[in-house]
Structures are given as structure tokens and as C-alpha cells.
Amino acid sequence: MDLAEELASKQRSISVAEFFEKNKHLLGFDSPTRGIITTIKEAVDNSLDACEEAEILPDIYVAVKKTDRDVFRIIVEDNGPGITPAQVPFVFGKLLYGSRFHQIRQSRGQQGIGISAAVLYAQLTTGIPAVVTSRTGHKSPAHRFELLIKTETNEPEIVKQEEIVWDRMHGTRIEIEFKSSLAAKKRLLDYLRYTSVVNPHARIRADIDGDLHNFERASDEIIVAPKAIAPHPHGIELGLLKRMAALSDKKLKEFLIDGFSRVGEKNADEIIGISGLKNSRKTSGLKIEELKSLLSAMQTVSVPPPPASQCLSPIGEEMIIKGIDKEFELDFVKSRTRKSQVYSGNPFIIEAAIGYGGKLESEGSATLMRFANRVPLLYQQGACAITNAVSQVNWKSYNLPQQGIPTGPVMILVHVASTNVPFTSESKDAVAAIDEIEKEIVLVMQDLGRELKNFLSRRDKNKQEEERARAVCSLLPDIAAKVSEIVEKPVPDVSPLEAQIMRKVVAKKQTIGGIVEITVSNHTRSPVSVTVYNMSEDSAADAEPKTDFTDVIGSEYNKLWKAEIEPESAWKATYTGTGSGTLDVRGVDGKKLVVVDLDA
């Protein structure tokens, strides 16, 4: 008994701040280098989310400044709606505090941990309070806070608070200082560039210790923030149902219709029927066994999928291409936004793009850009369902070499948008392996792969055909010469043959037995409209077909025909005469025309 008492005396409650202080790798602060990226990512996510909700075109300033040997000051400032002074300490100084945790809709941040974790990390490594400035509109003053977190209780500690003058009309600025290094600068710039690709409505300016980068806005279209939806009857567990039922003062049917997505009169009746409960029951009075029957009924009845268009905000095919075009110069880009799908009651949409050529590295693995709810995923590429799905595709059948993911000058973008993106860990580096999601990614990759294959084979075919023609033409004169030597005759003119091979228009005049024959052969791939001019002493009165116009200039007749010639066809005119004079053809680009006068 003594012992149990003694053991009991050691028991105590642990604050969530203490927990995460000790387990900082769970939040992406496992290395000093990584801390910078994690902090900027969390702050920028918050800024973009806030602007979206306020329907503002985001204008974000990011700065990283070295203040000591291994200490950096990170600043993120936005033009968002600002945060009321009463909320500031909690938003930045308390873990697990936020507005989006219980909402079912697509958003970047969700858990209310990210930015507070950065504050925690700062006080752990440098002890310097975070500085937050926020202003909610031109009528309000700006407030400046210096904040710490009381680890033992997970409550904010306001070191200093003051009103200040700020030139921003509205917005929020956070400054955090901690031990770190800029070793991962390239990755940081990748993060900003990728963010800019999937948020083409945002302007981001960055000052990375004196190195300035602007990521310009590619679209002035304001993004409509997705709206929260009620839970879907197929995506709920007993625990949540029990809590919802206990809090409601409604009767069963009303509770079902109001409390859940896509449940109407008919569905509600059906659910109640199957559950065997009476419609008159108040839900707050239901026992656990009754709730189980209700849940089972809810999951049996067929209900349409959740309203994805309302709660999800895909980027859109056009916007993805705008974003990519803005940051990369490519020879080819295609994008796809797929229809929404559901996993475990959570709606999601897969979007993807594939790009080729341009300045992409021609060697090595493809550039794979992974996004979840418009946020780039930078770490743990190997552990991510996106990578896995991309690797499952047989890229060789789309003419791309492959080592896991494809290799060569290829860029692949995949965006998973969901009310609840399943991450493998709280540091949100990788999407967990969910069959429904992987399947969608494989499908969109196959679709885009076919597009890329078409592009590549069209490109290759044109190139090959021209090379082939050039090579043949370079050999023809040698063949003609050797053959002539053997048969002991003069070397024939190979230019008509060359023209044919090089897909040109060939005009030929030849006179045999007092009959002049003019032929125009179209070896190009398109129809041509030509005008044939034949100046000679022949009047060509018996021409077949008749000339369209004949002009007499001195002793010569200038004869003119107009002709439309289909590809791989020829036009011919004949008349009685000597065949002297000239032949000329108009209407075809000089590079595409060969005129051969066999009488000359």
C-alpha cells in the first residue's frame, strides 16, 4: 500500500506544451535547419487562409535575417483581415487553439499547433519572445505584442503589449527568432516557388538574408473560401455521434436532417425505419445501445457523397497552368482536375499537371511537386502516397524512362485537396497511403501520361521524318552518279526527286514530240493554290485545260493558269508547241517550291 501511494504521489498531469516541447520532431522542428522552413510554412499558410476567408488578394512579405552566429529572425507579414487584440495571445501563445479544428472544409492549417510551436521552439532555443503586430482595419489601431508560452500550463504569457502606428491598413506580422541555419535555402525557395505555383492569386516577396525574390501574381481572381459542411453520415464514429446527440435538443428526424450533410426527409425516414427507434425520441435521451443502432442504420442507408464543391476549393486546370507558366518555361504542360471522391466519409479532389522540356534538367529524376490543400510538401517524398502512386504508373508505356518516378526533363504536380488530408504524421510532410487517393492519382497520371506520350511522339515523328528526308536526299546524287557510270549514260537531274522527298511542290515542264507538258505536283501535307506562269513563243491555243489568262508581250505569250492541288496530287496542262521559254509558279513559299525545266 505504501508503494502504491508512493507511486501515486509521482503522478501528474502533463501540459500539451510540455508534450510537444519534448516531441518537437512530431511538428517538424527536429533540426535547426528545418525550423526556418516549418515556421515560414506555418505563417504563410495562416496568411493565405486568412486572406481567403476575407476575400482579399494576398500580398505576403517573408524575411529571414541573421542576427547572430546561428540565430535567425523570421518575419512573415500579410495584408489579411488581422486578428483582434484579445485573440492574438491565444493564437500565437497557446497550442491547440484555432478556429478550424471542428470545421469540415478544406483549409491549410487546421490543428492550431503550427505557429504556436514555432513560438515554443524560439523560447526553447533563444528565449526571445515572439513579436506579433496586427491591425484589423483602418479604423482600429495596430497592436504589438511580445509573447511567450507558459509551458507548464500551455497558456500565453504577454511580456509586453502596446498600440503602435502601422502603415498597413489591415494585416498581421509575426517575428520569431531562433537558432537555425540557412543550409536549406534552396528548399526554402522551392517552398515559396511551389506555393506561388498553386496560389497564383498571391504575391509573395521574400528577403532571404539580403537575397530578394519576387513571386508575382498570375491571376487577379479572388478565391472563394470553401464553406464548412455538416458531417456526412458515412464518415462518423460512435463517439462523435454520442456527443452530437447529447448536445442536441431536437427530435430524431430533425436531428438527422439538420446535423448531417445530404440527409433529407426521405433518407431520414429510411434511417429511422432501419434503426427501429421511435421518431418522437429526443436524441439527448438515447442510450448507447440505441445510438449504436442509429449509427448502423445511418451507415446502411445510401446517401449521396458530401457536397465537395462547397467545402473544397480545387485550384482548377487553367490556374494550375497559369501558375506553372509563371514560374517555369516548359515546352509542354497539361493539367487535370478530377471529380471529387470520398474516403471514410471525407471528400477529396485530386488535381495534377505534367510538364516537359524547357529548362528542366534532362538527366535524373523528374521534379515532383506534391501539394496538400494548396500547401507544398517538402520532406519525406519517399514515404508519401503521392510518390508511391506516381511510381506505380508504368511510365515506360508513355515513353518515359523510369526509376520509381519517371526520369528526364519532366515535372509532375499533384494536389490533394480534402476536408481532412490524411498525413502520416503531425509534421504534415507526407500523405498517408489511402487506397482511394492512390487510385485517383494513378488514374490522373495515366491520363496525363497519354497526353505527354502524344506530344512526345508527334515531336519525335516530325523530327525523324525531316531527318530521314535530309539523309535520303544527301545520298541520291551518289546513287545517280554510280548508276550512270555503270550504264555509261549522263547523270540525271535528281532535284524533282529531292523535292518530292523533302515534301515540296514540284513544277515541271517537258516537251516530247511537239507536245508541251506542264505538271505541278504537290508533295506537301496541305492543299496549295498556285498560279502557273508560262512565257514562251507558243500561243497554247489548244491548251488542256484552257489558260485562265493569256497576255501577249512582243513575240511571246504569257500564259497563266490557276490551280488548287490536294496533297499528293498533281495538276497537268498540255498544249502543242516547242517548249522554249520560262516557267514560274506563284502561291507557294519559295522554300517549298522546285521548278524543273527539262527543256532548258
Binding site: L476, D478, I479, V483, S484, I486, V487, K489, P492
Partner: protein, 362 residues
């Protein structure tokens, strides 16, 4: 045909090829050449000559791709070279022609195989053998030993040789160009051609040629064209039955087939190269089981070759289907010298006499 006539005919046919191309180029047609398709599917049995020849399928080679255009250019050079060689009364080997092509710039051969293919094409187009163009084969002719007297027209005059009395134990070696050979007289009942030198020497040591009045021919593996032409002539001019004795494996059956039916590669020459009356004496797959011969397992390559033979029109007879299927079932192959496991005299005292009388030869 007299040499002069033959030379004139060959020159004419070469010029014809060039003439066609000349006309094609002059009329703005991309130059091309048609050849019979040279695959197993395009050989047919010719009732008249009793040999297998190319059928009607044609492959057109047109200068519309760089590869084909280069091929035509090379062919034009070869035609020109051969025409001059005939005019100068010189001869050369294929390999020499390959080196001579060094001076042909882009038309230079990239490998020796290529010159060989081109010459085969020319044989098919002109319906003349390469010897008609003064091209000397590189391959070794085989050796003959037996009661036969021949006359050879050499550069150093006519030689009359008896293939038992006037030669050493290695026999009379067949020259490259058998156009120059005349079969004068003989005292033989049949011809037996063997794949290996060991068996040739065994028959000689055991006096098989004397006992049975046999002409022994050592094929030295896949027989050279000259050897096949001599076998053909021994059969058709002297009316001697010809039997073929090889190892018991698919590659050896092809030796037999090339002698009896003509080869796929040289189906255009079947009439002068093939001996339709030649018979296969062994080693038969059924011998492997009947005589319990020492045998090796068939390799994957062997099995594939046997299966290919089952679809080869030349092997489409009841005898061969039965034997090949038996061999596939046994999974074994034996060499002809494997008979030694039953004693050194077994092959000449028992096996061959039995088989020959079974076949009606003795």
C-alpha cells in the same frame, strides 16, 4: 556454258540492275529493288526440280529511308565493282571486296556480314551464283575418299585424280569453284557423307569404302557450297545414291536439310545446291533409345531449334515429325561417335549396314 558466255551474261544482268535504277531516277521515282522475302514462310516446294525455292512473297527495298538509300548506294558500288572485275578477268574473296570498299566513302561496308547479304541479294536478282561474278568463297571445301576419278581444270592445267589411288589418307579436297570439275568415271555403289572427321577416319580405318564400294565425303560441319554442289553432281550425273550421316541434334538435321532440300538463306540457288534424292541415315532420335546411346540433355536452344523445325516446310514429313517429337520427348541428343560406346566396329559392322539395307541402298 563457256566461260566467255557466262562472263557476258553476268555483265548483262548486272547492267540491267543499274539500268532500272537509272530509269527510276530519271522519271522522278524513288529508286527501289524487289526481292523475294527470305524467311521460312516464303519457301515452297518446286515440283519440277524437287527442291525448295523462294515463293512469291516480295520485299521491296526503296531508297525512301536513309538506311535503304545507303543500301542501294552500296549495291550500286558492288554492281560496278563486279562488272569491272569480270571485265578484267580477276577474282576476289568477299573479304577482299569488303576491304576494297574502303575506297567507296559512304558506301563502305560497315561489317563483313553486309557484303555477304548484298551478294546473296545479287544472286537472287540475277539468278546467277556468286562464282559467276568471280567471287571466291572463303569456306573450306570438304574431302572425298573413294572409287572415283575426277578431272579438275586448274590455273596450272588439267589434273586427273583418282580419289583412292592418287591421294593420301586425307582424301581429295574439293576446290572452291566446282565449275572446273569433271566427274570422269567411278566404281562406287553409293555416297556416304559424314559430319565429323572422326567418323570419316573410322570408316576409312575399318575399310568401309572398300567393303561396300562407297565414296566417303567429309562434310566438315555445315557443308560449303562447293561440297553441296559436288554431292548434287555425284547424285545427278553419276546416279549414285547419297546418304547423310550426322550427329543426332537439330543443328545436324539442318545440315541434312540444306543438302537435301536447299537452305533458307540460299533457296535461290537450290537447283544447283540441293540434292533432292539425299537420304538421312542417322543419328536418328530413335537410335538414341534403340541403342541406348550416351546422350546429352537438350539445351533450351536445342529445344527451340527442334520446335522451329516442326514448323519448317522442309521437315513437314511423317518421318521427321515422328523423329523430332520423339526427341523432344526423350529430351536427349547424341553425337555420331557415341556409337563407340558399343565398340569401335559397331558402326561399320552393324549400324550402317543395317540402316543401308533398310533404306534399300545395299
Amino acid at each position: 556454258m563457256l566461260k566467255k558466255e557466262l562472263d557476258e551474261e553476268a555483265t548483262k544482268r548486272l547492267k540491267n540492275i543499274a539500268g532500272k535504277w537509272y530509269d527510276q531516277i530519271s522519271s522522278a521515282t524513288i529508286p527501289y529493288i524487289s526481292l523475294p522475302t527470305r524467311t521460312k514462310k516464303n519457301i515452297e516446294y518446286d515440283e519440277n526440280s524437287e527442291v525448295w525455292k523462294y515463293g512469291n512473297r516480295e520485299t521491296v527495298r526503296s531508297a525512301s529511308s536513309a538506311k535503304s538509300a545507303l543500301h542501294l548506294l552500296k549495291m550500286a558500288h558492288v554492281v560496278g565493282f563486279l562488272k569491272n572485275q569480270i571485265a578484267d578477268n580477276r577474282s576476289s574473296t568477299l573479304r577482299e571486296m569488303y576491304y576494297i570498299s574502303e575506297g567507296w566513302k559512304r558506301a563502305k561496308f560497315s561489317a563483313q556480314d553486309e557484303s555477304n547479304m548484298l551478294v546473296e541479294d545479287l544472286e537472287i536478282i540475277t539468278e546467277l551464283s556468286r562464282e559467276a561474278f568471280h567471287l571466291r568463297p572463303e569456306e573450306d571445301g570438304a574431302a572425298i575418299y573413294g572409287p572415283l576419278r575426277i578431272k579438275e581444270q586448274t590455273r596450272r592445267g588439267e589434273k586427273i585424280i583418282h580419289c583412292q589411288e592418287d591421294v593420301g589418307e586425307a582424301g581429295y579436297p574439293i576446290p572452291n569453284n566446282v565449275n572446273n570439275l569433271e566427274l570422269i568415271d567411278h566404281d562406287a555403289k553409293f555416297v556416304i557423307a559424314m559430319e565429323t572427321g572422326g567418323m570419316y577416319a573410322r570408316l576409312m580405318e575399318n575399310g568401309f569404302d572398300e567393303e561396300h564400294n562407297a565414296v566417303l565425303v567429309h562434310l566438315k560441319g555445315q557443308p560449303a557450297r562447293s561440297t553441296r554442289r559436288v554431292l548434287k553432281r555425284l547424285n545427278s550425273e553419276l546416279g549414285l545414291p547419297v546418304v547423310i550421316f550426322t550427329d543426332g541434334d537439330p543443328w545436324s538435321y539442318r545440315i541434312f536439310a540444306s543438302i537435301a532440300y536447299g537452305s533458307i538463306k540460299a533457296a535461290h540457288m537450290s537447283e544447283i545446291l540441293a540434292t533432292p534424292g539425299a537420304q538421312f541415315i542417322g543419328v536418328q532420335p530413335s537410335d538414341i533409345s534403340n541403342y541406348d546411346l550416351p546422350a546429352d540433355k537438350l539445351t533450351e536452344g536445342d529445344i527451340a531449334a527442334l520446335k522451329a523445325e516442326l514448323t519448317d516446310p522442309r521437315f513437314d514429313t511423317e518421318y521427321w515429325r515422328k523423329e523430332i517429337n520423339l526427341q523432344l520427348k526423350l529430351g536427349l541428343k547424341s553425337e555420331q561417335q557415341a556409337f563407340a560406346s558399343r565398340g569401335l566396329d559397331f558402326v561399320t559392322k552393324d549400324y550402317l549396314p543395317d540402316r543401308l539395307s533398310e533404306m534399300g541402298v545395299i
